[in-house]
Every structure is written in C-alpha cells, then in structure tokens.
Symmetry: C2
Subunit: 152 residues, 2 copies
Amino acid sequence: MKLSKKSDYALRAMIYLAMNYQKGTLQIKEISAKERIPQKFLENILLTLRKVGILNSKMGLKGGYELARSPDLITLGEVIRALDGAIAPVNCVSKMAYKPCSEEVNCVIRSVMMDIRNAITDVLDTMTFADMCKRAKESLDKKENDVFTYAI
Amino acid sequence: MKLSKKSDYALRAMIYLAMNYQKGTLQIKEISAKERIPQKFLENILLTLRKVGILNSKMGLKGGYELARSPDLITLGEVIRALDGAIAPVNCVSKMAYKPCSEEVNCVIRSVMMDIRNAITDVLDTMTFADMCKRAKESLDKKENDVFTYAI
DNA sequence: ATAAAATCTACCATATTGGTAGACATTTAG
DNA sequence: CTAAATGTCTACCAATATGGTAGATTTTAT
C-alpha cells in the first residue's frame, strides 16, 4: 500500500509548481534543488506529466515547466495515476486496470477492496493542488503545528 | 497501492478457515487445493500467521491449522500487517513503521496521506472474518449478484 | 554561434515479489 | 515400534519493480 518515491516526488514538484502558478515556467534545476529531488529522476517525472497533459514545457534556453491548467483543475489522483498506474488495491476493483477475478470467495474480498478503493479515490480525486497550496500556506502561518505534527 | 499476492492468499485462506471454525484443524493441502494457492507458498503464509498468534497448528499426522480466536476477534488489518507490514502509504503516517519526514512542503502531503491511511484502516481494522463469512454466505444465497458484480 | 534548457534512449544496481526444494521434527495409526 | 503423513525450518531462485544514472540530441534565446 506504499506511495512510490516517484509519486511522492511528483506531488512535491507539482505543489512547488502550483505555488508558483502564473509566474511563467520554472526549471527542473530549480525544482530539484528546492525540493531535494535527484535532477535526472525529476526529468523523467516531469516529462511523464507533460505527456499526459498535466504540465506544459518550453524547450531551449530559458525553458522550463508550468502547470497546463489551473491548480484547482488538477487532482492528486491524476498525478499518481500518471506515474504509478492504477490506485486500486486489486485489479478487479480498478477502473484503470480492471481485470475480472474468478474465485468465488475472492468476491467477498473484492467487496472490501472496493470499499478501500473508494475511500482512497474519495480523497485523491477530490483533493486538488489548489487545496494543497491552501493547506501549505495555512501551515506556514501558524507555526505551532510542530506541537502535534508527530503525535500519531 | 497494491495488495500483495501473499496477503490476498492469506485473506482467502483465513476466510476458508473461518467458514470452518470449530470443526477442528484443516490441512494446508485442503486449503491450497480448494483456494488454488501454491501449497509451498501457503505453508509460509500460514506459518507466519501462526507465529503472530492468529492461527494454531497441530503437527504430525492428522495435523493442520485452525483459527486461534473466534472469527469476530480477528480483523483483516491484523492479517495484512502480519504479511505485508505497515498499511500506511508513507512511513511518516504509519503507526507500525513510523519515521519522521523532514521536508516542509511534504507535511501537506503528509496530511493527505494521513487521511488516506485513516480511511484504509477504518475499513481493515473494523472488518472481521466473522463479517467476511456473513458476506460470503449472503452472496451465496442471492445468486443474482452476477448481474452487477462486474459493473464498476 | 553558443550556451542553456528540455528530450530521448539506454542502461544499471538493488530490493521486492512470488515462488520452489529439500531436509527435519512430530504425531498418529497400525 | 515403525511407517506415513503432516507441520517446520533453512535456503535458494527467477522475474519484476524501484529508484535511479549516463550521455547524446534537439530546441531556443541571446
């Protein structure tokens, strides 16, 4: 049930780009430095996001990347699917990678996995990068979040 | 975000054992044949479940496995954690494998991942194998479930 | 023209996944 | 008491996924 490093980096880069929306393109170098993401790895990630239409790029000198749409029109789910593929815990409850399962008893597992998939996508397909920016700005304001941040 | 084959097999074997609770021990051979799980692989899985106290075993001729507790006292979460480890999508929101994250912006990702972890564990730590048996019996009764089963 | 940027192609080491093989220990039936 | 059936233990192993890196190529602003 792990989020891959790739998706994690992608979310961080996307938040960075969203925080700077409408300031023109930002360069890989800058994002990788600020978010401490290996540059070559980030190149792959941003390229993938461009190919699925989440980012726009400008080549050549003074080139860079920017969001292809307003941050409130891009969800976390869209980004994670672009990099990691299907979100569903098993393929028989996946929209993206659906494959039927045959076992009889498996179907009751399936119904639980469906509940879980729905719970996950409820969060990921609702939450936009505009929301993320709002949360980020809020947590920058009140600095006393350190108090409870690690109390899980 | 995938459920491993190991956990999938474990859940299926557990449901099989729960459906036959209080009928004495069942043998690996039977479970592996009925649920079509590679026998040697299932051996590892059941052994793990015994070591964490979810199953009891009886060695030797006429030996086998049975639930160590009533099915309503064993949750799916317990079984999945025994085999796959932590359920949380990132370690910084895990109870089982907690490790702090340092990035500032990551904390807003963290808060979303916390929501997801909670949504997942709400399902997995609530659902017991008694519930699973009930669901299985219900879906055996009304056979028209075929109609909507694959309509996702 | 040149330098800086994205893009493309091709690797690669390591860890995880999904197993298998075979010897050993324990128990029951005969 | 012995044979057969069962769980237990240790050790492998192939295939795939993960998390990268290297280097050449194309594009563009100056």
